[in-house]
Amino acid sequence: MSCPARRGKKMNDAGKIIPILIIFIAIAAFPFYYNMGKVSARPEPKLDTSAIQELTEKQCVESKEFMRANHMQLLNQWRDAVVREGKSIYVSSNGKKYNMSLQNTCMKCHSNKKDFCDSCHRYVSVKPYCWDCHIPPKERKS
């Protein structure tokens, strides 16, 4: 179907809209090119707590790679299982059983919240609100 009346109709104010769009994108993308090429130190979460040193097999509830990629979803599922479904035991992929508890399981090994949790969270600028209610382990002030 042809619609000659519409074909080739001029875009009104294109001369204003397109430069303004380009300026907008330049401003919105400013953080990206401002930081391009600048490398900030990569976070190194520390695993040197005494509880971890004492472990014969230095393994979290799942593999390091899994935990690194999925700990947030794992914690969300733990939370719902414990609070909403009344389940408290986690069966890991290698069949081991753990009590699902941030304060009583995770942080018993990872008692160095500042050097473990916070080091990456600060780097990627995420602010999980876990600690509004959950009590972090006592650490020496550094």
Binding site: R6, G8, K9, K10, M11, N12, A14, G15, I17, I18, N70, Q73, L74, Q77, W78, R79, A81, V83, R84, E85, G86, K87, S88, I89, Y90, V91, N99, M100, Q103, N104, Y129, D132, C133, H134, I135, P137, K138
Partner: protein, 263 residues
Amino acid sequence: MSIDRRQFLKISGVSIIGVGAAGANLLLRGSLDALQTSPAEDGLKAKKWAMVVDMRKFKTEEDYKRIIDACHSIHNVPDMGNTKDEVKWIWTDTYEHVFPGQENKFLPDAIKEKQFPLLCNHCENPACVRVCPTQATFKRSDGIVMQDEHRCIGCRFCMAACPFGARSFNYKDPRPFIKEKNPEYPTRTIGVVEKCTFCTERLAKGLMPACAEKSNGAIVFGDLDDPNSEVRKLLSANYTIRRKPELGTEPKVFYIIGGSENA
């Protein structure tokens, strides 16, 4: 400018779809299949948890203080220092306030003046659950009315709905008002509602609720659906009353009042 309006709109539309698809891809990558979880094997289980409070065994101030302190210290319940901001899981009040409509002026003085320990009734038909817009409060399959602080948005509908005043709101950050924090249990944060949970975290470990454990037998906890349970034995051997039964919420905390000689 050789671009016309139609072409401009087409290009914009395709760009927006592209950005949306990239965003959706990021979100989908973050999902995780359900993990394997199970209830604790040595945890206490029941079809319908209930409690019997035997008022004959509450004699001294110490009997009340012991159970309230046990509950509030374990669960990091703050002492706000004034009644407006008060946060309570277990507390006391007098007969005429606890059982309105059932008082009369010829009751034994001992009962009129006596303090009754009060807590969430874990109703069969909980009004708080019906009104909660986020399902932050819900009834578990074992009858416990649970509070999911992760979901609470602090609207306080549940506080308005509860006929027993069992719910408290955190008007302030409770942390500075907790004398000694129990590192094994979370605190709450400003803007959420909290209440007694029948010690779900202790039941999962095979322990009785803290108040029942510390009460020297004055508070008995058990399965209302099991005819041989301790609570059923007490209920069939004694006359018990509940708070505001006429409202139809079916409270599961029963009181043995006793006579003047016991009060």
